[in-house]
Assembly symmetry: C2
DNA sequence: AAAGAGAATAATGCATTCAAAATACATTAT
DNA sequence: ATAATGTATTTTGAATGCATTATTCTCTTT
């Protein structure tokens, strides 16, 4: 009876969540925030104490994160935070470019005028941040704009695949410090992109986005390499 | 000590597998083979008895399959085989087209002459199957050719993403019966595709593949719709 | 002192157990 | 007879316990 009533309106549903479902996002955030670093051994005991749960739900959460590629399960040896190699990163970049390009194309058809105006507003804010040199604000808005294309595309599967890739390479994108030159280039490309979006130019926009994403990611790979050489 | 040695070479690693890791593929196959149909409730008890394991590893396997999108976990109510809606299918198709298009482009750079010859051989076999009307053989070779592009691309991440999408829509592709006209069209497109691959035409090949995949998938969506109307 | 063997300790994998919730069933009241 | 309530059974979620495997520590030997 109560269930019947509850079924009638979503708002009356008591939000019930399993322990492992609650655990998974918490653990994911710990990794994404850097509390746990790539290669770190994940001690079941320690985390159990920290979260105040038994090993069963924790292990289930670890299984889920392993499926996402965020942790690695070594048989009989426990779990470690997954390390992503340079090679894997290099594999991911062209895929992200292809997905964003597709998102842009779909967005041309699917986005409302209001949607486009919203992205233009974000872009304006981003330009302001660029001109005044607020890098962290710039990066945040830049990320929002890229994510906006996926929302505008109206394809939840596509958006979630992008998000999943972004998670996998979390430590390597939107964080890398750009050189002045590459930053300027990226900004100029953004100008063109917004223009093409406003015109709903289905031929030009995907091309621009693909080139843009490929360009920025290549820059990142270069700088990552440079850091490595300097360190070594 | 033994572990130290094992760490030195992958080949010396004793292939030890956890129960849940062994369970996951078995369960996946049960779903893919249709032993368990979309919407079916998955009885933990029944499966435990069938595999002769306790609930713990089984539930871990279910968690993994849920992350893959193959089963759905309903809180406090157990698991069911995930049902994929028409809408979700429609979302997946353009993504597959984009991924295959990218794979084709990468393949132009990465594939050796021998690789290309191998695909050509598969294509020749497929054409033979087409001309003699062996549909199941045709479909199998068709699938192999599509998968080959991903292998030739030399991008493991891309290949696994494609595989994962393929798994999700398993019941809706490479199975759908084609009409004579759409089959003929698909075959003609394949001819062009193999030609462009042989020429390593990086501009033409991706375009052809994208059009081909989009075309066949649209056909499938149409036929699926037709079936539904007929049934309803 | 360094290397290796062996024991002690800890951690993992799985089964079992316990508690809570859902479903099925029977009983009662209208 | 039907609907509603209360009870029993089943099922799920999580904790605990046990056996096996890995790791660490110590002690011996060279």
């Amino acid at each position: 009876m109560i269930q019947e009533i509850a079924r009638m309106s979503v708002s009356t549903l008591i939000p019930r969540q399993n322990l492992h479902d609650a655990l998974t996002p918490s653990l994911r955030e710990m990794i994404l925030d850097g509390d746990l670093k790539p290669g770190d051994k994940i001690s079941e005991r320690e985390l159990c104490e920290r979260f105040g749960v038994s090993r069963t739900p924790l292990r289930e959460a670890l299984k889920v994160l392993a499926a996402e590629g965020l942790v690695q399960l070594l048989p009989q040896r426990g779990a470690i935070v997954a390390e992503i190699s340079e090679d894997e990163i290099k594999e991911v970049f062209p895929i992200m470019a292809a997905l964003e390009s597709l998102a842009a194309e779909l967005a041309c058809d699917h986005a409302s005028d209001a949607d486009i105006a919203h992205v233009e507003a974000l872009h304006a804010q981003m330009m302001k941040a660029y001109r005044s040199g607020h890098e962290s604000t710039y990066l945040r808005l830049n990320r929002l704009i890229h994510e906006a294309f996926f929302e505008l595309a109206g394809n939840a599967t596509l958006a979630s695949m992008y998000q999943s890739l972004l998670t996998r390479i979390h430590s390597h994108r939107f964080i890398a410090r750009k050189s002045e030159a590459s930053w300027k280039k990226a900004v100029e490309e953004h100008e063109e992109i917004i223009e093409a979006l406003a015109a709903r130019d289905k031929r030009r926009l995907p091309r621009l986005l693909r080139k843009h994403v490929t360009g920025t990611t290549v820059d990142i790979a270069k700088e990552s390499l440079a850091r490595k050489c300097k360190a070594g």
